[in-house]
């Protein structure tokens, strides 16, 4: 955490699972960020993060844009913008090109087709079913008592894959339990679980009119297994920004800067 004094605009992404705050300098470079688990008291949490950034030396009364599910509660924000626009903006600035952005968040997943100029051309959302979201990984890894990193490594180390046919998180969990009871190897099941999420997201991406390159943002982008399997299923290389989880907040900060 440095360079807070050079911050000229701020973005807050109040997501379903985490809250992110990003500060950008006059050129729009990401110079400061914070990331916390989501607190149910959204506004108080945002205030606290603002105190933190000020304590780091950030000037007062900078432009601020809020995004994410909790954006409406952040009364201090000058404007509220949806995650779709913010993610597209952040990723386009970071990577310097358009393409298809897949954002897999804690409670939904989105596919955003971004033009070369950084505008949103089209988007698709899965907000009806947890099976294509980070929540799916949380539920099944929690059930296996595996931390997220180990969960991804296990999937990648597997020498095979067990198909998970259930289309719903809750039923996938019970399918996993009965597969374990039948003696199926854990690592193969874990790979199958990753595959099932990837297939859902891939279908969403194809439906939105996939336009390469494929870019990934959101918390789930941190999973190496998801990245690998997604590249395999879509037969596309996956381009990753440096901080996939911060792209919403970064885009919000860029919009606040007017950059």
């Amino acid at each position: 955490m440095s360079d807070a004094a050079s911050i000229r605009a701020l973005g807050i992404d109040a997501g379903s699972t985490t809250m992110k705050m990003v500060g950008v300098d006059a050129e729009g470079a990401l110079v400061w960020h914070a990331l916390e688990e989501m607190d149910p008291r959204i506004e108080a949490q945002a205030e606290r993060l603002l105190d933190v950034v000020r304590a780091d030396g950030c000037p007062d009364s900078l432009p601020l844009i809020a995004t994410g599910y909790g954006r409406r509660l952040i009364t201090r924000a000058d404007r509220k913008v949806t995650e779709i626009t913010c993610h597209a903006r952040g990723v386009h600035r970071e990577l310097g090109h358009g393409g298809t952005l897949i954002d897999i968040g804690g409670q939904d997943s989105k596919v955003i087709v971004v033009s070369e100029e950084g505008k949103v051309v089209n988007f698709s959302m899965n907000d009806k079913c947890a099976a294509g979201t980070g929540r799916f990984l949380e539920v099944v890894s929690g059930r296996l008592r595996m931390p997220m990193d180990a969960f991804a490594d296990t999937a990648l180390a597997a020498d095979g894959e067990v198909g998970i046919s259930s289309t719903c998180t809750v039923f996938a969990e019970s399918e996993m339990i009965s597969l374990l009871a039948h003696g199926a190897p854990v690592e193969r099941i874990v790979r199958g679980l990753h595959r099932s999420l990837v297939q859902r997201v891939s279908a969403l991406a194809r439906g939105a009119g996939l336009r390469p390159p494929v870019m990934l943002s959101g918390g789930v982008a941190r999973s190496r297994a998801i990245r690998t399997l997604l590249a395999e299923t879509l037969r596309q290389e996956i381009v990753l920004p440096r901080h996939p989880q911060l792209m919403g907040a970064y885009g919000a900060a860029l919009l606040a800067l007017g950059a």
Partner: protein, 441 residues
């Protein structure tokens, strides 16, 4: 109930009811005329014909309350040929319209539950569930629905109606006529038209037998002429939406379409749309839009989300978005040219073969692309209707084609036309917010 008492009740209801409805209309009309009585920052005042619409619909259902004690009653699907029934003196009830009334009045869920309790799956169309629920329980927001003497189901809108009307036939123990319309992937062949014409002729014979009277050809021609005239007027009404700003939105049309659907072939329907058209043309001349500060124009695909028409119209109007046309309301106008009053049965066969839902998804895409051009629209909202599979199928591809090939932003909005349980306000609001940003970028 003795016949005498029934007649007395009917007279009391229709005499007093008519009077009350007329009084209410005059009151509303006077209110609309008073300057400053309309306060909205979103919308222009309602059309001065609106109170008349309310009177027409209320009167239709008021007549329905006792219709089965006075003459023959038919329940029909929204795409069924109705002119011969009107000419035979049937009181015609549209369960789909009644379903929409239940949706707008927010009682569709409560009534559907009666059907669900009887074992009908929630995956079944919410109109069918509302209708079967109403038939089983007798519950309705319109007082009472008349018992049918005849059921007419035409497959040009979906295949659900086949089984839905069989359920009704078993419940009411009345004859069911099915008119099967071959699906059109391209143009209709002579054989298709002949096939449908023969079925309509058979339907006429059944309807004559049930009604106990025979069809007068001149009366059928008269009804068909009125039907054509009203359809042409309705098309013109919708086409005023091409003006910028649009004097009418598709949300208004969802409400004002009731007469063209359920009162086709009546003179008062023709008169109603003529008056409405006049008023809209005047609004175009004055440059007054239905949505104040119209900034963006959208096309709507699929049925409305009846329980949320108002919510959605306000949500759009808040951002200066006017819904200038819809494939749904257009379906009751676009076939006007095919109606030929000189050959009523032959032309009915053609007309009822060609509804948008009986044609390929490519045709619907072409219709939407044309609408975008004609109405100078900035985008399309595709309502992915959980209940209406034939209307929703192909929307993923249609959205993709509109977006990438034609450069028209299109949003897929998941909901249901009549079941509020399949609608999530927060998620819909989220998608709309993102879509507005795309439109404004």
């Amino acid at each position: 109930m003795t016949l005498g008492l029934a007649k007395y009740q009917h007279l009391a209801v229709s005499f007093l009811g008519r009077g009350a409805l007329r009084y209410e209309r005059l009151r509303q009309e006077a209110k609309l005329k008073r300057k400053g009585s309309w306060k909205s920052e979103r919308f222009a005042p309602p059309l001065s014909t609106s109170p008349r619409l309310k009177e027409l619909i209320s009167l239709h259902y008021l007549k329905g309350r006792t219709a089965d004690e006075r003459g023959p009653v038919a329940w029909v699907t929204s795409g069924a040929p109705v002119e011969f029934l009107v000419a035979l003196g049937y009181y015609v009830l549209y369960p789909e319209n009644h379903g929409a009334v239940c949706g707008i009045r927010r009682v569709s869920e409560k009534i559907s539950v009666h059907a669900e309790d009887a074992g009908y799956s929630r995956d079944l169309c919410s109109y069918a569930r509302t209708d079967i629920g109403a038939a089983l329980s007798g519950e309705t927001p319109v007082g009472r629905l008349p018992r049918p003497d005849l059921l007419v189901a035409c497959t040009n809108i979906c295949q659900t109606v086949l089984l839905w009307y069989q359920v009704l036939a078993a419940h009411f123990r009345v004859p069911l006529v099915i008119i099967d319309t071959p699906f059109l992937y391209g143009e209709a062949t002579e054989r298709d038209i002949d096939f449908v014409r023969k079925q309509i002729e058979e339907a006429v014979a059944v309807a004559e037998r049930v009604a106990g009277r025979s069809l007068s050809e001149s009366r059928l021609m008269q009804v068909t002429r009125r039907s054509k005239e009203a359809t042409e007027l309705w098309l013109k009404v919708m086409e005023t939406g091409k003006a910028k700003p649009a004097p009418i939105t598709a949300f208004d049309e969802f409400i004002h379409m009731a007469p063209i659907v359920e009162m086709r072939g009546e003179q008062f329907t023709v008169d109603y749309y003529r008056a409405m058209l006049q008023e809209l043309e005047a609004r175009v001349r004055q440059g007054s839009g239905a949505v104040l500060r119209e900034r963006k124009r959208l096309i709507w695909d699929n049925l409305p989300i009846w329980p949320r028409v108002r919510w959605l119209s306000e949500k759009l109007a808040d951002r200066g978005v006017s819904l200038v046309a819809s494939t749904y309301t257009n379906a009751w106008g676009e076939l006007a040219d095919l109606v030929d009053p000189e050959h009523p049965l032959e032309s009915a066969a053609k007309v009822y073969l060609h509804p948008i839902l009986n044609r390929g998804t490519g045709h619907k895409l072409a219709t939407m692309e044309k609408m975008v051009r004609d109405y100078q629209a900035d985008g399309v909202i595709l309502h992915s209707d959980r209940s209406c599979k034939p209307y929703s199928i192909g929307q993923m591809d249609q959205r993709e084609r509109l977006g990438t090939a034609a450069g028209v932003p299109a949003l897929l909005l998941e909901a249901d036309h009549n079941d509020p349980r399949s609608f999530s306000e927060e998620q819909a609001a989220s998608r709309l917010a993102a879509f507005f940003e795309v439109l404004e970028a």
